[in-house]
């Protein structure tokens, strides 16, 4: 007999004993107590996907900027210490520039570089270092020019004509024409960023490898990265600004939503991004905190202006009125989003709520369709991805729209594609026969509207994928871009919003609230009106 019953039982006993022994190193639960902020501890964050390169100028995606932002800083920054409820649009604040001036004609920006700032490698920050970084993203003749970084930051530098450094701590950027959005664009991330990197590190490792050895000036510095497992940052004790409370931050990619929730419940991470909508209520009941904001995140449809039916403005207006945005937000997405009532998000200075144009009114939609010559509706196709950065749950959302539109007689077929193929298809321009294409995007600068609607950026040259062209809009946006004060620019941008709304060129659907779930021992986390966050204020009890 090979294994008697007794031996078999013995074997099982040994296996179980080994397993139990191993389990002794497992996690244990802890509870939190509030009080004055305390220094120390490691914050573990479960993030929704693997991070792109740790080269802030090259890296795409919000997920990457959330990590890179802790290590790298731009010249001008956004103040993310105020929650969306207090400050709808994050205020600009000095970053690596202490102050800046604009020439009266709006073409010359002069930045005064913050003194006594050192990169994590000990090299000093000065105007030459900043110039090095700008040339890396903009100057094709520069030795360290990087096409990938330039590709990501095209819109920031497109008007830049020349750079000068009149003294070691001053840099002057001269534009081809007045370019009001420039300063706000400097503070943006997600599609590359203008975070300043140590020139010494770029020279040492080269453009391709510097992302493995990131060296910035930010409140946290790089410790290690194990792909698929973690990125570890540690407090920068030499930081020029308010030093963080946390000793360390670990970003752990957990792409599977149920794994993220399980890791949070098992205390393996202290907070998670993008919780599945269905899990939020039960996590809250279990004592976890929910932090939500109002980032400039618009989930929208770009109507196809080459399609004969879609060319009709009444049809586009009818579609806008036939979509039940509030219903989608509440019933489908469990209030993790808000209905969108403007082409710009509320986190944008040019936001104008327009419930008249974007409210739910199926009766009026039917009237408009009848006026447009489609009393019995029509059939068309909607293009959407099945997944992707910031896309929420695109297919169920598209199906919701499908049901809404069926009620006014519009039959739509869904054409779904996975993200990489979708992005390529989307950027090629919406093909004939497809009524509209879906995307989610947005920025705190109103300039975003120019990027998606300007006739000079029609696909496939730029992101105006519906091929929308309106000379009046182009003119107003040009005035906004070349305005010399922010107030004047904002007024023009609001006018531009109204034109796009009247013309129904875009159908904004919802604004994401970007919820995070935090354990009870995490304090001081702020959901400001951005797609990313700062960790300087966070502490653990």
């Amino acid at each position: 007999m090979v294994l008697s019953g007794r031996r078999f039982r013995q074997l099982f006993a040994v296996v179980i004993a080994l397993a139990l022994l191993a389990a002794c190193g497992g996690p244990s639960a802890s509870s939190g107590a509030s009080g004055p902020p305390r220094s120390g501890g490691t914050l573990a964050i479960g993030i929704e996907s693997e991070v792109d390169v740790l080269d802030p100028q090259r890296a795409g995606g919000w997920v990457s900027w959330r990590v890179n932002r802790q290590m790298f800083e731009p010249l001008v920054d956004e103040d993310l210490t105020k929650p969306s409820a207090e400050t709808a649009v994050p205020a600009l604040r000095p970053g690596l520039a202490t102050s800046w001036e604009l020439s009266p004609d709006g073409t010359v920006y002069t930045f005064h570089i913050r003194p006594n700032v050192k990169f994590h490698d000990g090299t000093p920050l000065d105007a030459a270092a900043v110039e090095f970084n700008v040339r890396r993203m903009w100057d094709k003749s520069f030795q360290y020019y990087d096409a990938k970084a330039a590709g990501q930051t095209t819109f920031v530098w497109q008007q830049l004509k020349s750079i000068a450094t009149p003294d070691p701590m001053t840099i002057q950027l001269t534009m081809k024409q007045a370019f009001e959005p420039f300063v706000r664009l400097l503070s943006q991330g997600g599609s590359g960023s203008t975070g300043i990197m140590s020139p010494a590190s770029i020279k040492q490792y080269g453009n391709d490898n510097v992302g493995e050895h990131p060296v910035g000036t930010g409140p946290f510095k790089f410790v290690d990265r194990v792909r698929g497992q973690r990125i570890t940052l540690a407090r920068n004790d030499d930081y020029w600004g308010t030093k963080p409370y946390l000793d360390k931050v670990v970003f752990r990619p957990l792409p599977d939503p149920s794994s993220r929730v399980a890791s949070l419940r098992a205390n393996e991470v202290d907070m998670i991004a993008v919780p599945p909508p269905d899990s939020v209520a039960s996590l809250q009941q279990s004592g976890f905190q929910v932090s939500e904001g109002a980032p400039p995140h618009v989930w929208f449809l770009s109507f196809n202006f080459t399609d004969p039916i879609m060319k009709n403005k009444l049809v586009r207006q009818a579609i806008n009125l036939a979509i039940d945005r509030q219903g989608m937000a509440t019933n489908l997405l469990k209030d993790t989003v808000k209905p969108a009532y403007d082409v710009q998000a509320p986190a944008n200075a040019a936001y104008v709520a327009n419930t008249e144009a974007y409210g739910y009114n199926p009766d009026k939609a039917k009237q408009l369709l009848a006026q447009a010559g489609y009393p019995n509706g029509f059939s068309t196709t909607m293009m959407t991805s099945v997944d992707g950065s910031g896309q929420i749950i695109p297919v169920p959302m598209a199906e919701y729209i499908q049901q809404n539109l069926a009620k006014v007689g519009i039959q739509i077929q869904l054409q779904t594609t996975e993200w990489i193929s979708y992005l390529t298809k989307w950027a090629q321009g919406t093909p004939t026969g497809v009524g509209w294409a879906q995307q989610s995007w947005g920025m705190t600068t109103p300039y975003w509207l120019y990027i998606v609607t300007s006739s000079s950026l029609k696909a496939p040259n730029g992101p105006n994928v519906g091929g929308y062209s309106n000379p009046q809009l182009d003119q107003v946006m040009q005035q906004a871009i070349t305005a010399t004060t922010e107030a004047a620019a904002v007024e023009k941008w609001k006018e531009a919003n109204r034109i796009v709304t009247d013309d129904a060129a875009i159908a904004p659907i919802v604004n994401d609230k970007a919820p995070y779930i935090l354990s009870s021992k995490v304090h001081g986390f702020v959901s400001a009106s951005e797609e990313w966050y700062d960790l300087n204020t966070v502490w653990l009890s």
């Binding site: 007999m1 090979v2 294994l3 078999f8 074997l11 296996v15 397993a19 191993a22 389990a23 190193g25 497992g26 996690p27 244990s28 490691t42 573990a44 792109d52 390169v53 795409g60 096409a147 990938k148 590709g151 990501q152 095209t154 997600g190 599609s191 391709d208 490898n209 992302g211 493995e212 194990v226 792909r227 698929g228 497992q229 973690r230 670990v250 752990r252 990619p253 957990l254 599977d256 149920s258 794994s259 399980a262 419940r265 098992a266 393996e268 991470v269 996975e418 993200w419 990489i420 193929s421 992005l423 390529t424 298809k425 989307w426 950027a427 995307q439 990027i451 040259n461 730029g462 992101p463």
Partner: protein, 317 residues
């Protein structure tokens, strides 16, 4: 034996070349431009063209393929398009992690599957036999993903014995012991189906062997049962069992991909998924090549083991 080995190795090389060409061509058919994905929504056509040129993606397909293929024998698997790092520096650690997980599962599969099948066969048609085979049938029918979620729920969340996912502790990553603790649940999840299959196979072979004429003869001659099993039956069931274990090892390398997702195990599967969604051709090529290589090697080792165990197959080879 030498001739057999040489022939098998030659076939292996041909299979690998075939696989690499196939993967390359399939990826060309898939719509989607990796540079578009890399540069995001805001990319202008001009910038996309510039980066495509820099990465050499505007060269003819045959040049791109040969450039890559000629590097492989020199150990150069190319650069990742999106990560700008040598493919090998990204993939080798991931392959190692997958091997650890597959190895852990294979161990469970052998330690539980083979004895379970033998005990069941020895007690054919008893409650032990029917009970264990019922459990095995259940195990073979369980979707891996579901099994993983149930295991996490019970052993990590309810009982708190093991971590829910990953390979190291998040806050204080440790060494060997840390990996071992994290390995238990995913390897059990990945082992469920292969263990069940091996148990059923072992039982079948054992039943057949125990009914063979020579066993009846040995028993009739009064040879002790212990000797009958250990000396005269075990060897007969080994070739089919080794065969099926080899097949399961191959299955495990493919099957652990789901387990890697559920348990967030940083293996080849997850990396390959990320690379496919980014259209990162050199990474996909090398990843698939690795899997094909391991599969072929496992098959080769299995065949050699069987040939050593069973002289009849050796003559045929």
């Amino acid at each position: 034996m030498i001739g057999f080995l040489v022939r098998r190795l030659l076939t292996t090389v041909l299979v690998l070349i075939g696989v690499s060409i196939l993967v390359f061509l399939i990826m060309q058919l898939v719509p989607g431009d990796p540079v578009r994905t890399m540069l995001g929504q805001a990319a202008t056509a001009e910038r996309v063209t510039e980066v495509r040129h820099q990465l050499g993606l505007d060269r003819p397909l045959i040049v791109q393929y040969l450039d890559w293929a000629l590097g492989v024998p020199r150990g150069d698997l190319g650069q990742s398009l999106t990560l700008s790092q040598p493919v090998s520096s990204i993939l080798f650690p991931k392959l190692g992690n997958t091997m650890i997980l597959a190895g852990g599962s294979l161990l469970i599969c052998l330690v539980i599957g083979v004895p379970l099948g033998m005990v069941a066969a020895r007690r054919q048609y008893t409650v032990v036999d029917r009970g264990s085979m019922f459990v095995a049938l259940g195990g073979a029918s369980v979707p891996v993903y579901w099994a993983g979620l149930v295991i996490i729920n019970i052993f990590a969340l309810k009982l708190g014995w093991f971590p829910t996912s990953g390979m190291h502790d998040t806050r204080n990553p440790g060494g060997f012991e840390d990996v071992l603790v994290h390995l238990v649940l995913p390897s059990i999840a990945a082992a469920v189906v292969p263990t069940a299959v091996v148990a059923r196979m072992a039982r079948g072979s054992m039943v057949e062997a125990l009914h063979a004429d020579h066993v009846q003869m040995l028993r009739a001659s009064g040879v002790p049962e212990r000797l009958v099993i250990w000396k005269h039956t075990l060897r007969n069931i080994l070739p089919p069992v080794v065969n099926i274990v080899g097949l399961q090892a191959g299955y495990l390398l493919g099957g652990v991909i789901f387990v890697e997702v559920v348990f967030n195990w940083p293996g080849l599967g997850g990396q390959l998924y990320t690379s496919i969604t980014a259209g990162d051709m050199p990474m996909i090529q090398a990843g698939v090549l690795f899997i094909a290589l391991v599969f072929v090697v496992v098959n080769l080792v299995t065949d050699i083991a069987v040939a050593l165990l069973d002289p009849r197959t050796r003559k045929e080879a």
